[in-house]
């Protein structure tokens, strides 16, 4: 059975009651894993507390950091500082230079772009850089849902082109809700139908972008963050004097 993942659920973490209502909703909608963006300076105890709340609802909480760097220098500085603290790092590319740097950096997991179709920098050059790293393209449902009439047309068209490019260059695509309000949360199968019909994708692909692709991304990162990880392909399987 598929395990559905919503890698971008913008949940208020200060108010635990509200946090719980988001988590409960995600669980009843059929998700098994949710990615919650957290502040960079969050303490480990707080993360454990949030994870235990999510566990009560049979949800696996993924810690995520959303970076919005204004320059490439700023991006590199933040990646150096926070990469080992969070399971998923997403970069909202506000400029072409940042988009290019994020695409070629292996520490970036998700490439995220703004709603404005003119300021989405995912083109062939970006895809070629991203294909040599590990970054995936993230598409949020909320961006389409809240776009007003004429802009929505351009946005859907733009995202359709981006996905075609991404698939051509073997770049993983991740669909998420991007919901910051319960009103924007949808069941995974509704989201799959929404994306597959609007973006000319097969149902199977859309379902994979909501389940297997984000799940494998998180598992890969968790493996890297574990103590047994040494380098890609090398991990410690046993410690002690009898090795």
């Amino acid at each position: 059975m598929r395990k559905f993942v919503d890698l971008h659920l913008i949940v208020p973490i200060k108010n635990l009651a509200e946090f719980e209502s988001f988590i409960r909703k995600a669980s009843t909608l059929g998700y098994k894993m949710v990615g919650v963006p957290l502040p960079a300076n969050i303490e480990k105890e707080k993360i454990e507390q949030l994870k235990s709340i999510a566990k009560n609802f049979n949800l696996d909480l993924v810690t995520r950091l959303n970076l919005k760097p204004e320059s490439t220098g700023n991006l590199l500085k933040n990646l150096r500082r926070y990469r080992r603290k969070f399971e998923v790092i997403s970069v909202r590319c506000l400029s072409k230079a940042v988009a290019r740097q994020a695409a070629k950096d292996r520490r970036v997991d998700l490439l995220d772009f703004v709603e404005n179709p003119r300021k989405r920098f995912f083109d062939k050059a970006e895809a070629e850089l991203a294909s040599n790293s590990l970054a995936a393209l993230e598409v949020e449902a909320k961006q389409i849902l809240i776009s007003p009439f004429p802009r929505r047309i351009h946005l859907i068209s733009r995202i359709r082109t981006e996905i075609k490019i991404a698939l051509k260059y073997d770049i993983p695509v991740v669909f998420s809700s991007g919901a910051d309000n319960l009103i924007y949360m949808r069941t995974p199968r509704d989201l799959a139908a929404f994306f597959s019909t609007l973006l000319d994708l097969s149902k199977e692909d859309a379902l994979n972008f909501l389940s297997n692709v984000p799940k494998s991304l998180v598992e890969r990162n968790r493996g890297k963050l574990s103590e047994s990880f040494v380098a890609p392909g090398i991990r410690i399987v046993k410690r002690g004097s009898d090795c």
Partner: protein, 109 residues
Amino acid sequence: MKRLRRRYLAVKIDCKDEIDGKKVVDTVLSSTLKLFGQYGASKTGLTQIDYDEKKGVVILRCFHTALDMVRAAVCAVTEIDGKPVALHVIDVSGSIKTLKKRLSGRKLV
């Protein structure tokens, strides 16, 4: 002539305010129009079958070939009469009898 196959969808209305259930089908239809145009909407065969006010569940019917279009249109609804709302397809079935049977024994969203 080949018999038309249909699908029955149970749609849960998720809203803090009270919503007129009869307006759901109009909203979904206008959402279909916005997304797929008149030609697309004409292919869905969308009709409201039932509305359970207590549970806040509307049962819609469409052609099985247009199921994903209707699901996408349901997903795109964010307000009814200016009130923020989310619609969730909680179950789909090929017959109304099975759908009602399944709904009676499950926890709604």
